[in-house]
C-alpha cells in the first residue's frame, strides 16, 4: 500500500453530522426498521398490536416512546415458548451464518442469537468505528486475548481488524503465559482483552520476568466486557503495566457488537455510534427520560442486526450521557461519561448504604499492592449484613498488609457514608481469575449458613 493520509474518522460524513441531521437520519432509519419488524417478526407485531401502535404512527423521534420496551425476560420467554429462537427472528434460520449465546454472567438462561451474512459484516463495521477512532491502523499487529467460543466477545473486532488490513493474532485456547510470550515475540502493537484479563496478562508477564513497557511494543490496549474499562484507577494501572494507552469499548450480545467507544482524545467517556443506534437514557423505575448529566438506564434501538430487530431494549446498564461537545475530537455522537457505570441491579444495600461494585473497584485499584480482590456479602446471626473485601497481594508485598488493611478500610468507608468494610487477606492464588466477564461480587446473604 502506498503512503496516504487517512482521515481521523472511520466515517467522517456520519460521525461529524450536525445533530439535527443525525436526528433526521435516525428517524428515517427508525421508520423503516419499525415497518420491517412489524412485517417480518411475529414477536414485534404482537408487541405493537398490544400497544396499539402501527409503523405509520412513527412520525417523529419522539414517537419512539410510543413503542413498548423489549426486555430480556420477554426474549427468554419467547425462546422458551418457541424453541430455539422464538418468533423474533425475521428470516429463516438457514439464512443465518453465525450463532452465538449471551455469556450467562447473570446466571439466567442464555439468549440465542443468529446473524445473516450482512449482519455479521455490520458487526465488524461497528468495531471499525471504535478501532479507527482509537488510532488503530493497517500497520498494527493486533493480539486477541480471547477464547473464540460461543460468547460473541471480540469476534467482531477480529473481523474488523482483518478489514483494516492489520495483522491479526488470534490466541484461542493459548495459556496466559504463552499469550504473553507471543505478544512480545510478535511485537504486537495492540492487545484486546477484558480489563481484568489485561491486568492478569501483565501480572503473568511480571512472573515471567518480562518488563512489558520495555520489552513489548504494545501502544494500545482495547478493553471491553466489563465496566472497569472506564474506571480511571483501573485504566491507569493497565496503562502503567503495559506502557500503552488503554481505550474502553462496550457492546452486548443482544446487538452483536459495540455501540460505544473511546476516541484518541479520551474525554473521560465513550462516544455513541449514533448513526447506527438510538440510545435513550431513562429512569429505571418510571421509564421517563433523564437529562444530560443524570444517571439512568440505557435503552437501545439498533439499526444493524437484520435477523433480530432490537427496538427499545432495556439493557439494565447504568449510564450518564453528556453532550458530544465534551470531547474535542469533532464527533457529534454523544458521550457516556465514565462508560458503562454498572448494572441497574448491581447496587447492593448494606445496612442502609448503597454499595456499587464499581465504586469499590475504583478504590481497590488505587492500591498497587493488591493483585486481585473479591467483595463478599454475608448475613450474620440472620440479621446483620456484613461486607468484606478480600484481597490478594502482589507477591513480595506481604509486609505492607497491616497498612493496606487499615487504609483500604478507611477509604472504602469514607466514600460509603461511613459504612464499615471488613478487609481480609486471601492467600496467593486463592481468588478466582477471569478471562471473560469478571464476577467479583459474591452475595451469600440469602443462602443458608452451615450450622
Amino acid at each position: 500500500l502506498s503512503e496516504r493520509t487517512w482521515s481521523q474518522y472511520w466515517n467522517p460524513r456520519s460521525e461529524t453530522l450536525p445533530k439535527e441531521d443525525l436526528r433526521r437520519l435516525q428517524l428515517v432509519k427508525l421508520q423503516r426498521l419499525v415497518a420491517r419488524a412489524y412485517e417480518r417478526s411475529p414477536y414485534h407485531r404482537r408487541l405493537y398490536e398490544q400497544a396499539g401502535v402501527t409503523p405509520d404512527d412513527i412520525r417523529s423521534l419522539d414517537d419512539l416512546r410510543r413503542l413498548p420496551f423489549m426486555t430480556r425476560e420477554d426474549w427468554m420467554q419467547c425462546q422458551a415458548e418457541r424453541p430455539l429462537f422464538g418468533d423474533l427472528i425475521t428470516r429463516p434460520r438457514d439464512e443465518a451464518i453465525r450463532y452465538h449465546l449471551t455469556s450467562g454472567t447473570t446466571g439466567r438462561q442464555p439468549l440465542r442469537v443468529l446473524d445473516s451474512r450482512k449482519d455479521w459484516a455490520w458487526i465488524a463495521e461497528m468495531w471499525c468505528y471504535g478501532f479507527w477512532a482509537f488510532g488503530i491502523r493497517p500497520h498494527d499487529t493486533v493480539f486477541f486475548a480471547f477464547s473464540y467460543g460461543s460468547f460473541i466477545g471480540f469476534w467482531g473486532a477480529h473481523y474488523c481488524c482483518e478489514k483494516l488490513g492489520a495483522l491479526v493474532l488470534p490466541s484461542g485456547n493459548m495459556s496466559t503465559e504463552n499469550r504473553v510470550k507471543q505478544i512480545v515475540e510478535m511485537g504486537a502493537t495492540v492487545v484486546c482483552a477484558t480489563p481484568t484479563y489485561a491486568l492478569r496478562l501483565a501480572q503473568a508477564a511480571q512472573q515471567l520476568g518480562i518488563d512489558l513497557p520495555r520489552q513489548a511494543k504494545v501502544r494500545r490496549i482495547v478493553v471491553s466486557g466489563e465496566p472497569a474499562g472506564s474506571i480511571p484507577a483501573t485504566k491507569k494501572r493497565i496503562e502503567d503495566l503495559w506502557g500503552g494507552k488503554c481505550g474502553d469499548t462496550a457492546g452486548m450480545t443482544e446487538i452483536g457488537t459495540i455501540m460505544i467507544f473511546e476516541c484518541e482524545k479520551q474525554p473521560g467517556g465513550t462516544h455513541i455510534i449514533e448513526d447506527h443506534f438510538i440510545e435513550e437514557v431513562l429512569d429505571p423505575d418510571s421509564g421517563e427520560p433523564v437529562g444530560y448529566g443524570e444517571r439512568g438506564e440505557r435503552v437501545v434501538t439498533s439499526f444493524g442486526r437484520g435477523f433480530i430487530p432490537l427496538l427499545r431494549y432495556r439493557t439494565r446498564d447504568l449510564v450518564c450521557k453528556v453532550p458530544h461537545s465534551r470531547c474535542t475530537c469533532g464527533r457529534t455522537g454523544d458521550i457516556y461519561e465514565g462508560g458503562i457505570l454498572g448494572r441497574v441491579d448491581d447496587m447492593k444495600l448494606v445496612r442502609g448504604t448503597n454499595v456499587y461494585p464499581r465504586a469499590v473497584e475504583a478504590i481497590v485499584r488505587e492500591f498497587r499492592e493488591v493483585e486481585e480482590f473479591q467483595i463478599l456479602l454475608t448475613r450474620e446471626d440472620g440479621i446483620r449484613d456484613e461486607i468484606t473485601v478480600r484481597v490478594e497481594l502482589t507477591p513480595g508485598q506481604e509486609a505492607a498488609w497491616q497498612e493496606i488493611e487499615r487504609r483500604l478500610g478507611d477509604e472504602l468507608a469514607a466514600v460509603h457514608e461511613g459504612l464499615r468494610f471488613n478487609v481480609a487477606l486471601a492467600a496467593a492464588g486463592e481468588l478466582p481469575r477471569f478471562e471473560l466477564k469478571a464476577k467479583r461480587l459474591v452475595d451469600l446473604r440469602d443462602q443458608p449458613r452451615p450450622s
Binding site: R13, S14, R32, S116
Partner: protein
C-alpha cells in the same frame, strides 16, 4: 439489471444530492446485487458476489445512501 430492493435513489436518506462517488457506489451495489441474484452462475461467483455485496452495503449505509436489507441469502 436492477435489484429488487434498492432502486437507485436520486438523493441520500437525508434528501441531499448524491456526490459522484455516492452514485458510483450505488451503481456498483446494484450491479453486484444483480450478479449475486443470478441462478446460472457457479457458487464461486455467486458466493463471492454476496460476500462483496455486504461490504458495499456497509459503505452505502455508513454514508446514509440507503438502509434496506440486501435480501441476498
Amino acid at each position: 439489471m436492477t435489484p429488487r430492493h434498492e432502486p437507485r435513489p436520486p438523493q441520500d436518506l437525508l434528501g441531499r444530492p448524491l456526490a459522484p462517488e455516492d452514485r458510483e457506489l450505488l451503481e456498483l451495489y446494484a450491479r453486484l446485487h444483480a450478479l449475486a441474484a443470478r441462478k446460472d452462475l457457479p457458487p464461486a461467483v455467486v458466493m463471492n458476489c454476496r460476500q462483496a455485496l455486504v461490504m458495499l452495503w456497509n459503505a452505502a449505509v455508513d454514508l446514509g445512501l440507503m438502509y434496506e436489507e440486501p435480501e441476498i441469502d
